[in-house]
């Protein structure tokens, strides 16, 4: 009897552990919960919860001194359709689209060259693409400002060469903003395109040439459609951060080029109209979501 009592606790312990591990082994759903649990919890606390609060704000009113007055209204969303804000929205989408297209036009040939270079060079070239990330983004943006300034390197050089007489206005223009965005997000275009070109079977190029396709036809009919997944992924990765960019338009646009994120920033910190800022945030999210869905739809119809 005494022996039995001595053994029991450890037995119970082992049994408990055993039961748990059995349950985990047998039940797929329990295993999935254990694996996805930490990440899920993280997203719940730091993403879902805050975004719910912001969503709730977007239907509230601005109280005196910038406080939030909890009474339901749709006026924040209605107000967004003022031409003043629609313009900011259109400028943001336009600059982001421009950035995406320029990144695509520059990035595709670049990715192609990397993917077709000898294997031992490829990694070195890819590292070169990523080298800018080693320096802080702010520092790099300030560096671009120095280049574009009226008495910056570019203007000085052009004047010295006698190409221009007076300095060009480059800083604080849409040009500067797009330049900064392209510079910042080009690697996000190159990498996915590189990945899809690297997987591409180049005997298909020979097959197309054999059937009478010239270089342009090979690209348009064979290479591009089969690397489209990379193009779409790259475009999404460039468009989304571009449309919501804050630092680049803030520094390189200098308040003259206002994008959605600058508007949101203004509403929260300067105007202290949190409900309106929240509403704009949700409009931005809607744009991003719509763009993403459009891209995926495009990809699906072209893919098999």
């Amino acid at each position: 009897m005494a022996i039995v009592e001595q053994v029991r606790p450890s037995e119970r312990g082992a049994g408990w552990l055993q039961r748990l591990s059995d349950a985990v082994r047998q039940r797929e759903s329990l295993r999935a919960l254990l694996l996805a649990g930490p990440g899920g919890l993280w997203l719940l606390v730091f993403f879902l919860l805050p975004i719910t609060i912001v969503f709730a704000y977007s239907f509230a009113r601005r109280g005196p001194y910038g406080a939030v007055d909890w009474s339901f209204t749709l006026e924040n969303y209605v107000r967004f359709f003022d031409w003043l804000y629609i313009r900011v929205f259109l400028v943001s989408v336009w600059l982001a689209l421009l950035t995406t297209v320029i990144c695509l036009v520059i990035g595709y040939p670049f990715a192609f060259v990397i993917a077709r270079s000898p294997r031992r060079w490829r990694n070195a070239l890819l590292v070169l693409v990523l080298v800018p990330f080693w320096t802080n983004f702010l520092v790099r943006t300030y560096a671009i400002m120095l280049l574009l300034r009226a008495d910056g390197l570019i203007n000085n050089a052009l004047q010295w060469l006698g190409i221009i007489e007076r300095p060009l206005t480059m800083l604080f223009t849409p040009f500067a903003v797009v330049l900064g965005l392209v510079y910042g997000y080009l690697p996000f275009m190159i990498l996915p395109i590189y990945a899809s070109i690297e997987k591409f079977d180049f005997t298909l190029v020979e097959a197309a040439q054999d059937l009478g396709a010239n270089t342009w036809h090979v690209f348009w009919n064979v290479l591009l459609p089969l690397t489209l997944p990379g193009v779409l992924a790259g475009s999404i990765l460039v468009f989304i951060p571009s449309v919501g960019a804050f630092v680049t338009p803030d520094l390189l646009g200098g308040g003259k080029v206002v994008m959605i994120a600058n508007l949101i920033n203004q509403q929260f910190l300067t105007v202290r109209h949190w409900p309106f800022g929240s509403a704009i945030s949700f409009v931005l999210m809607a744009i991003v979501l719509a763009a993403t869905m459009l891209y995926f739809r495009l990809g699906e119809t072209r893919r098999i």
């Binding site: 020979e206 054999d210 059937l211 459609p225």
Partner: protein
């Protein structure tokens, strides 16, 4: 032959950037409507030769002519040839119809003519009704046929095939061999076929060029290549051969006496001048040897030996016969009688006499 020449290679050499000589001074004439095979082990230069005809590679020196015109640097899309690739290289994002129509689309053939010709081509390869499928929804054999249709629909002067049956299983391969041969006879297009499979080449070809180490060793009909191999390599690569090494002892007109390394003498016919005392190899195919027990009547063979191994393969029985300490030969004896009683099968250890028709032996110099 007075037939027009479709493809001609004149002293073509291809040296790759890394210095490898892939094709070494190859000259070939391929006639119109011919089923011509380039046969050789992997790395022998056969695929590079084909790629130079297609235009994917350009000769380092020498010239490729198609229909008499020097090709120079002419790109693939301006050559009147089409290729069936080893892995088919079908466009995965296009349907069967779109794949087959691709070449015609590139040539800006009118839409309804495309539809008509694609239908015709698919009928030819027995794939009607598969127009809307995608390549990955097809079996290997079907993909193979799409690749054929995609090339043939362009009505090229010459069709180039790069080991097109390599990825298929044995049974399907055998079927496709015959189908290809029939197809070639139906369409009347010149086929240049690259393969490392000697049986495949023998089955289908009108003529075969045997290649090794970048060079063409022999060109001839399957019968010529098999029955009269010009070199030891050809004899060994095509089918199975017994090699008996020796020295020319005496020459008497068209017959030479060869002193084998084992000390025996063989009289063999020769079809080219040989120097006395020169080192030669006598080649005899296993199926041309007759094997009889020494005590059997009429057993006055040229060689004698002892059965060392008996391999029964159904249609035939192989005997490994030791003729001296250093040499064994393989004899293939057809099982043309019911041998269930095993009476006719010679047991291991039997002293046997080997004989063959005089012209079955061939003297090879290298």
């Amino acid at each position: 032959m007075d037939r027009p020449i479709d493809v001609e290679l004149v002293d073509v050499t291809k040296v790759f950037d890394n210095g490898v000589v892939a094709v070494d001074r190859v000259s070939l004439q391929i006639y119109q409507g011919e089923f011509f095979s380039l046969l050789g082990p992997s790395g022998c230069g056969k695929t590079t030769t084909l790629r130079m005809i297609a235009g994917f590679e350009h000769p380092t020196s020498g010239e490729v002519r198609i229909e008499g015109r020097p090709m120079g640097q002419t790109p693939p899309f301006r050559r009147n040839v089409n290729t069936v690739f080893q892995n088919y290289a079908l466009f995965p994002h296009m349907t069967v119809f779109e794949n087959v129509a691709f070449g015609l689309k590139m040539k800006r053939v009118p839409r309804d003519e495309i539809a008509h010709r694609v239908r015709e081509a698919l009928q030819l390869v027995r794939l009607s009704g598969f127009e809307e499928r995608y390549p990955r929804q097809l079996s290997g054999g079907q993909q193979q046929r799409v690749a054929l249709a995609r090339a043939l629909v362009n009505r090229p002067r010459v069709l180039l095939l790069d080991e097109p049956l390599g990825a298929l299983d044995l049974k399907l391969r055998k079927e496709m061999q015959l189908e290809l041969k029939h197809l070639q006879m139906t369409v009347g297009i010149t086929f240049i076929y690259v393969t490392h499979d000697q049986e495949e080449a023998l089955t289908m070809s009108d003529r075969i060029a045997v290649m090794n180490a970048g060079r063409v060793l022999q060109v001839g009909s399957p019968v010529e290549i098999y029955e009269r191999p010009a070199s030891r390599f050809v004899a060994d690569f095509i089918g199975e051969t017994n090699f008996l090494v020796g020295q020319v002892d005496e020459i008497d007109g068209e017959t030479a006496t060869v002193l084998l390394s084992g000390g025996r003498r063989l009289r063999v016919p020769i079809d080219r001048p040989l120097a006395a005392r020169s080192e030669v190899t006598v080649a005899v195919r296993p199926e041309k040897m007759r094997i009889l027990p020494v005590e059997a009547p009429g057993a006055n063979g040229v060689l004698t030996g002892r059965v060392e191994e008996v391999i029964y393969i159904g249609t035939d029985t192989f005997y490994v016969v030791r003729i001296d300490d250093a040499t064994t030969v393989r004899v293939r004896s057809q099982n043309d009688r019911n041998r269930l009683d095993s009476e006719q099968q010679l047991p291991v250890g039997t002293a046997v006499s080997l004989s063959w028709a005089p012209d079955a032996a061939r003297v090879l110099v290298d």
